[in-house]
């Protein structure tokens, strides 16, 4: 099948949104587009598995390669492997949910949905591109919509957060750019596949890896470049927060993974730094979360902690841990999107996100509260939900690293699951349980669209949580390839 469809459908949807009139039409068009995309992603998954079943062991399937800027040897080269596919599925799911959640967005609805779709388009393009230039192009395409979404439709100190987010992400992509230039001028191509074949001189790797990796790290909320996360998420409107945490932070993780695969020597050289930063992010994020009083801040900080696992998994550089990192990306995407959706639903009713001002919501809105609790349980890694699978895989992988310092890092990150339990239960106990205040007692429960959105995301979480072998089966071959590129197959065997 032609992967370009993955870009064309959102593009078409966006254009359609510009053409139609009225909230009703706009959101319907948006939903149709998103659902179509979801269907497409499903179909893609199906045909991907068929191809694999038919014994097609190419690293990337459905490749197509068109010259773009001939003079500069820039190609529009696209293709997917299991990891990219997982990301695409995640994105399409979250987009549908996001559209559903913002069903009643009546302020400048046209622009709102247009930007949402544009953002998602950037993500799709990013995940399918096999050419670093295209990759970078789509990476930046996904940035500006966030700025506008937060700045226009946000809450609180929105413009400041929007500005901070945009600038930090742009700084990140500037670093990425430098790194990519370095690669380009030492291989004369942006093509990931070619570069992997050619290999990059070790010196060059050592010099440019930090730029590229940290650049993507900014997107992945790597300590200490995470400060855009709390404000950005807190100020953003619900759907935007979902996209931000669910999709755009994944761009960073995915980029880090690709970079590590492209520059294995540097990755091995710097892995201890990566692990150090990741561990700090995990612990630090967890403790910082414990002190938050605003639901969105709680979730934002916990995202820092959870994305730390992604980086940790990548930094450990063995097959299991990288598997874990990928699963964690998907899991965290779904989970945190669900969390933000629930918070958004609560906020839209109670008009406060302060934990102290909430309480006993389970009585008034059982559905939303249940969603909240489920998201929370997933976040603290309860078996049966995706979070458990992801984190355990990361732990397992990291533990395979016999270096005792790395073991220590693993244990410390492991300790974060206790802290996670603390803050999740504190929030739940205060906001969802306990006595309910009089004015909240009369609030209505979720509407159909909110329910649908939540159910979609929960379904995703459960599928991974109950049948992890499915996603494992999907991504394992790709991680094998990456490990081969890394020149180090899993340390166990």
């Amino acid at each position: 099948m032609n992967l370009t469809l993955l870009i064309l459908i959102p593009l078409l949807t966006a254009v359609m949104i510009l053409l139609v009139k009225g909230l009703q039409q706009i959101r319907v068009v948006g939903l149709i587009g998103a659902v179509a995309q979801l269907g497409l992603a499903g179909w893609l998954l199906n045909s991907f598995l068929n191809e694999r079943a038919a014994g097609n062991n190419a690293t990337y399937l459905f490749e197509s390669n068109h010259t773009w800027f001939k003079a500069l040897n820039i190609n529009y080269h696209i293709g997917v492997d299991g990891i990219a596919l997982a990301m695409i599925l995640l994105t399409s799911l979250i987009v549908v949910a996001g559209i559903l959640v913002s069903w009643t967005m009546d302020k400048l609805s046209k622009e709102y949905f247009f930007l949402l779709i544009l953002l998602s388009m950037g993500a799709y393009g990013f995940f399918i591109s096999l050419d670093l230039f295209t990759l970078f192009f789509f990476l930046e395409v996904a940035v500006i919509p966030k700025f506008l979404l937060i700045g226009i439709w946000g809450s609180g100190d929105k413009t400041k957060s929007a500005m901070k987010l945009a600038l930090m992400l742009m700084a990140g992509s500037a670093l990425v750019m430098v790194g990519l230039f370095g690669v380009y001028y030492n291989t004369n191509t942006f093509d990931i596949v070619k570069i992997t074949q050619l290999g990059i001189p070790v010196g060059v790797q050592k010099f440019f890896f930090p730029f590229a990796f940290l650049g993507f790290g900014v997107f992945a909320a790597l300590f200490p470049f995470h400060t855009w996360v709390p404000d950005g998420h807190a100020s953003a409107p619900t759907a935007a927060s979902m996209f931000l945490a669910g999709i755009s932070m994944k761009l960073g993780g995915y980029g880090c993974l690709r970079i590590a695969a492209l520059m294995p020597d540097a990755a091995h050289t710097y892995s201890w730094i990566i692990i150090l930063l990741a561990t700090i992010a995990i612990i630090y994020g967890a403790f910082a979360t414990m002190m938050q009083t605003d639901l969105k801040y709680i979730n934002a900080y916990s995202s820092i902690s959870h994305c730390g696992f992604v980086i940790l998994g990548i930094g450990m550089l063995n097959k299991t841990s990288i598997n874990g990192a990928v699963i964690q990306m998907v899991s965290h995407g779904l989970m945190t999107a669900l969390f933000f959706a629930a918070i958004g639903m609560i906020y839209s009713r109670t008009h406060t996100r302060m934990v102290a001002q909430l309480g006993g919501l389970l009585k008034a809105m059982p559905f939303i509260s249940t969603v909240f609790v489920i998201a929370g349980l997933c976040s603290l890694g309860l078996p049966g939900f995706s979070g458990f699978v992801a984190e355990m895989t990361v732990f397992m992988g990291s533990w395979q690293n016999p270096n005792s310092a790395y073991r220590l890092a693993t244990i410390l990150s492991g300790a974060s699951i206790v802290v996670t339990a603390v803050y999740i239960l504190r929030a739940t106990g205060r906001a969802i349980m306990g006595p309910i205040s009089a004015e909240h007692a009369l609030l209505k429960d979720a509407t159909w669209n909110e329910k649908l959105a939540a159910v979609l995301l929960i379904a995703g979480i459960l599928v991974i949580g109950l049948a992890p072998f499915l996603i494992n089966h999907l991504i394992m071959p790709s991680t094998d390839v990456i490990m081969l590129q890394m020149g180090k197959v899993n340390l166990l065997n």
Binding site: L72, E140, F147, I152, V178, G182, F211
Partner: protein, 470 residues
């Protein structure tokens, strides 16, 4: 036969001359309504633009003083395009101005000078073209005869440009003294990099730096931009800059090849300072024209990085960027001139809540600003990226990193404008503006250009096929 050649190779200059004459006659003849004149002029410019593309052949006239080739023709066409857009955008401003013909005569003359400068093969011709392009602009800067700022701007422009041309002439004289000729092709052979020559070169380069307003020769820019009418500002910021840059590349790549290492370093230093200072000043501006002035200074810094690559990609990316710059910058100036012509307001703070009243203009401005900032999918992204790639080709990553970080700073001030348009609350936003159709068309052209030029790689490839390296 000879005459025939002249007709072909000089056709763009001749066309302009013809236009100027026609305008003179119109001025002399019985007065017509401004609309009709403007429409006529725009038509004429459109035809002129189209005609520019018709046919081009390589050749030289006046034994090497004037030479032309596909690239030069293309460059001139770019300038024509820019002028066309500007003229369409200033419709609202000129409609009620009784001196519009003078405006056009001045701009056309200046443009003609630039044409000669671009295709000059000889220092004398170059100097003539330069002056011919500068002096009318000084007059044009003073076009709002009654405005204090306007005359101040004109004064600053004429004085400092006179000073710079004196410096330039000194350089030329030393160059002449050390090489004994004025013809580019011969000069190259005589350049051996002795101190006097280097000094001459530096004087020359500073003359150029003044015209393209590179730091520290930029100080006139902001004031002149702020003072003069928007149309003139647009002309200054896009057309004259572009023309000088074309000439500069031509000189550096073709003439000063023996001292390439030196001028590479000069360019890098200038680029670094220019980007930095431009950004730092742009941060604080509230007057929109001043803001654009400094942003354009910063842009020049990036251009210099691109040129310093001194490869085919270098000049190609320069021309490509100029094309994009024409679209994006003129889109921005278009909106600003619209606002200033209809409301007289020129401050960024006046744009608070602009989106509520003028969504169309807001989007045009936003897209333009994003393109200037270099955000995909606008063309500015590609332009800037290619410039830096060209610069990076030399392997000097320090400047690239420096530029990359400065890009972030520039994002800040571009986004600040976007913020004021979309996000800042304002109880009394600008009222809904009646944009003349012509200007609308111009803006649409710009927006389409901004979107298409980047994504459609054919443009770049074509330019690349034309351009040349060291």
């Amino acid at each position: 036969m000879m005459n025939y050649n002249i007709l072909i190779q000089l056709r763009q200059e001749l066309a302009l001359a013809l236009l100027i004459f026609i305008l003179l006659f119109i001025k002399l003849g019985k007065d017509r309504s401004n609309e009709s004149i403007l429409n006529f002029i725009n038509m004429a410019l459109l035809i002129n633009l189209g005609a520019g593309f018709c046919c081009h052949e390589t050749g030289e006239l006046f034994n090497g003083m004037f030479n032309t080739n596909a690239l030069i023709v293309f460059e001139k066409n770019l300038l024509n395009l820019a002028l066309f857009i500007i003229s369409m955008q200033s419709f609202a401003w000129l409609k009620n101005n009784k001196n519009l013909i003078e405006f056009y005569i001045l701009t056309f003359t200046s443009l003609m000078g630039m044409f000669f400068m671009i295709s000059s093969g000889n220092l004398l011709m170059f100097y003539l073209g330069l002056e011919m392009s500068t002096i009318p602009l000084a007059a044009a800067a003073n076009f709002d005869l009654t405005k204090r700022k306007s005359s101040e701007a004109a004064m600053k422009l004429i004085l400092s440009s006179a000073f710079s041309s004196a410096i330039l002439l000194l350089g030329i004289s030393f160059l002449y003294g050390t090489t004994g000729t004025l013809t580019f092709s011969i000069i190259t052979a005589h350049i051996n990099g002795n101190p006097l020559q280097l000094f001459a070169f530096i004087l020359l380069i500073s003359g150029f730096a003044f015209k393209i307003s590179a730091v520290p020769f930029h100080l006139w820019t902001a004031d002149v931009y702020e003072g003069s009418p928007v149309a003139v500002t647009a002309f200054l910021s896009v057309i004259s800059k572009a023309a000088v840059l074309f000439t500069l590349v031509n000189l550096l790549y073709k003439v000063f090849t023996p001292i390439a290492d030196t001028w590479y370093l000069v360019l890098v230093v200038l680029a670094a300072v220019t980007i930095l200072i431009g950004n730092l000043f742009a941060l604080r501006q509230d007057n929109f024209k001043r803001f654009l002035a400094y942003s354009s200074i910063a842009q020049v810094g990036f251009i210099l990085i691109g040129i310093s690559g001194s490869s085919q990609a270098g000049s190609a990316s320069l021309i490509y960027f100029i094309l994009i710059y024409i679209f994006s910058n003129l889109a921005a100036f278009g909106v600003v001139s619209m606002v200033s012509a209809l409301t007289g307001k020129e401050n960024i703070s006046d744009f608070n809540g602009f989106y509520k009243t003028n969504p169309m203009l807001s989007w045009v401005l936003t897209i333009a600003l994003f393109s200037l900032a270099g955000v995909p999918p606008t063309a500015g992204f590609f332009g800037k990226l290619f410039l830096m790639m060209a610069g990076a080709a030399k392997g000097n990553y320090g400047i690239i990193i420096f530029a990359a970080l400065n890009m972030v700073v520039s994002f800040y001030y571009y986004l600040k404008v976007v913020k004021s348009i979309f996000m800042d609350e304002n109880n009394t936003p600008l009222e809904k503006l009646e944009v003349p159709t012509v200007s609308k068309i111009a803006m649409y052209i710009c927006v389409v250009g901004v979107i298409v030029t980047g994504l459609a790689s054919v443009v770049y490839d074509y330019i690349n096929s034309l351009s040349f390296g060291l």
